[in-house]
Symmetry: D2
Subunit: 379 residues, 4 copies
């Protein structure tokens, strides 16, 4: 018999909409063992919130997240608020004994992320961080191939994540460009995704050396009251070593004119390679040294076959999935884990691990040297 | 104040799911002036139907489509049943004075399509045929560019639509491979999409000459009772002339090993060209002779900017949409038209027009000559 | 001990330069058993010819092709002159008992092509037509794969060959736009290449139905003396059946804005597919149904490995070859055949066969019906 | 009146063949003001050398490079020998008062490179280093676009150069894997190309931090006498800052299974971006923020138009050039400069500048910190 769980969703913009959509779609397409029921939406702009709640079918809404967390009918708190609220909400949720699903980056700083992990573990509540890129079918297939040894020993990982929404110097200074609120810029916002995918596909990162850049140091304030300082990075890059000896090269930017959501990653192993691009998300490219020499080449695998991860729940082969489907898959895994009494993955531990890498990059930038992740983790 | 309309959805497989999903998503993302309310689901397999209804939130279901059409709370009948049922259901819906939204192809044969058009016009009910490809943002943008003269005089159109689901000879003989039920094979199933897009982008087709092929003439019956004849085409191709003097080359097949849903179309004009591929659906390629010679080239337009058709209702730039979004847009246009008392587009007139082209192809194949579309249309 | 053969090259423009270059390069890179020695260059514009001869190292040049053919030191006559001269020169060469290498299309009309074949066979001289696209390594590999059954039964062939050099209406009316000199337009100039490749990869074509279009009917005369009529096709398309039951769809145009030398061909068989594009000439795409389902996809084969056709004679893997290399390979095959006393391939028989297909298309256009190639061939 | 210059070519393998080919082709296609005359070929393997000389038309050959340099008829010494011979030969050539054209990397180490520069400057002989990638038409066009401000302020550069020839652990340990002979591994062999292109397109690099990796530490000796140590890098990556404030990310490897000669570079500026890939060398991708928002996108520029750099000397648009053409263009620039009494570019100064960056990377790897290029340059 199907059970359900009440959801409080905190945040109503980009991520709020992506998560709300995922709860709506997971039922018809995945029939999860635990059904999410949208109970209350939470945000700051009351008027917009009323509209959001009406559209997505939340029976209630509130501008007070504490109230939302506290509601009896809420069993799962989904945090899509700005980064500076993650910790406070997550801790409160844990203390309320409820499951917590938090957008990335888990927190602004490693210490904050750790406090969150401590809180959920102390409280014994289920916790998950929304590294949605793990849930693209092609990424899932990539991981399966690596796990089963299709690439042999993994030796090199490279990933770039390029956007261009800050190329326009008149784009306003939102909270994402304020260190006190966001923690960092592109590093925490987009690099964190490729750090998580690196961990997911290759393993732990042990040391890094990085570089940050801010190309536009002042932007108009959103309220039109003048200019405000940008004190976070527009772009970030770093070199890395993995525990297994592999090398990693990472770069992200919000200033690559013409690149919209261009995440491109490649893994090279002793017996094969694969690469993937988020702007062509249904396709995984796979090269195997075991193919006959004359016809060896990267295979363009359209990851929409019935046997491919998640794909069989959607449409026939070649009928492409989009960005939002990754969230549906994430929510499905979350609900499945909750139903089975397991903690979902990626958990806050993964959130902390990714944050530790970012923190090591920040230290490395400040001290202009390689930094072991253990140094910052205190491991 | 928002009004709503009750929907009866007939069909629960591929198209039934695509349409049900569209009704669920159109509200949060497009806030249409008329809200669709899923009232009753209809299908043949009662057990599967119960599951379908439950997942998508239909309060009722029935295996009797007449009952579904007749229900008082139903104002819109959405036909996703096999082709041989389109006419009967559409006519009954029209006679019941309700709006009708019908999957493509409108009918098996031109005569049937015409009878449907006559019925809806006689009854004065709104009617729409679901040529969903019209509603991809990139196709919409293509049409805008052509309309505003960005290509100059349009001279050449070419489209291929390649799938491979029949390459496997053990794939069963479903109703789609039986002429009496489907009308034709790839021609009516997939060529009809590129015929509609040709009409949408370029204009009316005046004459055609075609060729059909069936490569596997016998397949296992779905019930395991032996082999059954395939009496429709696995593949179809035809040459065409448009009213405006342009040439057209069309090809479709279910036998192109490795091609999953590979619809590729290109338009060449006197001052520019554009092309699009359904396996990379967010991208429109546009070449303009008006660009400076040294930097002229096809532009890869990622059609996800706020100003692009439909795109602003979804995610930030570069966060890709998938196949299913085209149905959401179609349903949004349907509901908007109903709310405003207009007949939606594409209407049954478009369904008939596309069907006339297919019929001319069939005659052309039989008589091994060019056939004017007016010949079969009796125009 | 290496022997050599004296070459008379007739024509000094695009093809003249491509052939001259091929003779220069074949020696260092292929060390053919018979060495070509450039003896005499022939063309109409004496001043340009002197320059051409000097640059490519011809010790002599003449504006009289008969003189060139007659020279004692000439053993091979290479015809790169306009189409209306092919027959006359080829027949004279045959009568002089010399080997003849002729650019495509073999002739303006089928009758002319046949006369040429008759002449070379009567005289017993070696003959080859320069269908250079056969000699791209990727095409060679494609043929090998088809021959060894990698695609299973071949069922469908499609090819487009798009250029845009006539989009500009002020482009002058050269001999290529005059039927009396060229025979036809895009049909004989570019479609002939894809007809030959279809024969090379799939087999004989038995019947066709086609369409021609001329979009710009008047162009400036090259000498500035006014406007001249264009009485050939700017674009051509046709459907075809092959002897083995496969279908074919062909299209070519000189009016596809933005397409420079865009030849794209695809072959679908019962167990695999392949495609190739002349704008990315080193890459062959190959899909096999025999690959495991989860990792099946078109392989991007970079055809530059030592074991690939011709590739080992050039550079290390991934160091790309260009258009001109196909001519070097063609000349290498020509010289190898001459050295071994075989007739080279493709021979004038292939030229005639391709011409018969074009002729059937022309009849089909005139009579608006399917035409068997045997009808025009009188076979 | 055309003058000529005698060439001694030292090296007969990959680069020897590429240079010899360039001298043969530059005359017919570029008609340079100074004609190269192949005088003497030089190499170690006498038998192979005789064959090489015969094929490319050298009247003489010798295994003693000193003799070749000394010959009176030689005015230009072209060094394609292994890296450990560059300095000695270049210095001897300078002392003989002859022009010197040297393959990259200029030398094994910075000190060696500097000594070479000193020698040629002291002797007053013309000098050029063969960074052939500068001479691809697309790269040339890229530089023109950047120079004329099409990208606005240049902010980010990224380049990867991936090969896979060392993935096979049984590939023998040639001189390229011995530090004493090669100086470094992938760093000096392939990274040097992207360092030079970065300097060519963006400007001087001021500081770097890098990482090296060797994945296979022992390989079979070429003579079959056992295993030999690999003491150079299989892969290298580094972060960089440019003088103009731009950031740079560089990676190269010989271990990226499936990547043959995959050099991919991208430049992002305040008003546009461009990227290029050596496996599709005729195409430059260019995005301009100045294009209208609705049709903005990366343009695929096929750099084969008559007005494009070097392209007009070859074939009609879309008839692709290959890898080897870059050498023809390099040699053309060399000969043009010599004819005009200018020193060609890139000169040994550029060779030294690139070498200084590599050296800074090596120090940075050893000391695990950022290193200013001036530190190693002693600037």
């Amino acid at each position: 018999m199907a059970r359900d769980i009440g959801v409080a969703l905190i945040g109503q913009r980009f991520m709020g909409r992506a998560h709300a959509n995922a709860y709506l779609k997971v039922v018809p397409f995945f029939d999860p063992p635990l059904k999410p029921v949208l109970r209350v939406a939470c945000g700051r702009d009351r008027e917009a919130l009323a509209d959001f709640a009406r559209r997505f079918g939340f029976p209630e809404y509130t501008t007070d997240w504490r109230e939302a967390v506290a509601r009896e009918e809420v069993g799962l708190v989904d945090i899509c608020a700005p980064n500076d609220l993650h910790a406070e909400i997550a801790v409160a949720t844990a203390e309320a004994g409820k499951a917590v699903f938090c957008e990335k980056p888990l927190a602004r700083y490693l210490a904050e992320a750790r406090a969150m992990l401590q809180a959920v573990e102390r409280a014994g509540v289920p916790h998950m961080v929304c590294f949605n890129y793990r849930f693209f079918p092609a990424i899932r297939l990539a991981r399966e191939l690596i796990r089963e040894g299709a690439l042999g020993e993994v030796r090199q990982f490279r990933a770039i994540y390029l956007q261009d929404w800050l190329v326009d110097p008149s784009f306003p200074r939102t909270w994402r460009m304020v260190r006190a609120r966001a923690g960092s810029g592109a590093l925490g916002d987009t690099a964190v995704h490729i750090v998580d995918l690196a961990r997911f596909l290759v393993g732990e990162i042990t040391e890094v050396v990085g570089m940050l850049a801010t190309f536009v140091r002042e932007r108009p304030l959103p309220d039109g009251s003048g200019m405000g300082e940008v004190d976070v990075d527009d772009a970030a890059a770093f070199l890395a070593r993995f525990e297994n000896g592999a090398t990693g090269v990472f770069e992200t930017t919000r200033m690559a004119a013409g690149r919209k959501n261009f995440m491109h990653l490649e893994v090279n192993g002793a017996e094969g390679s694969l690469f993937w691009n988020a702007e062509d998300p249904n396709v995984l490219w796979f090269h195997s040294e075991r193919d006959p020499a004359a016809t060896r080449g990267f295979r363009r695998i359209v990851v929409t076959e019935p046997g491919h991860p998640y794909a069989g729940n959607w449409w026939p082969p070649g009928h492409m999935l989009g960005y939002e489907h990754s969230f549906v898959h994430a929510v499905y895994e979350l609900l499945s884990a909750l139903a089975e009494g397991r903690n979902p993955e990626p958990s806050f531990r993964d959130g902390v691990a990714a944050q530790a890498v970012l923190e090591a990059v920040l230290v490395s930038v400040e001290e202009r040297r390689w930094v072991a992740v253990d140094e910052v983790r205190g491991g």
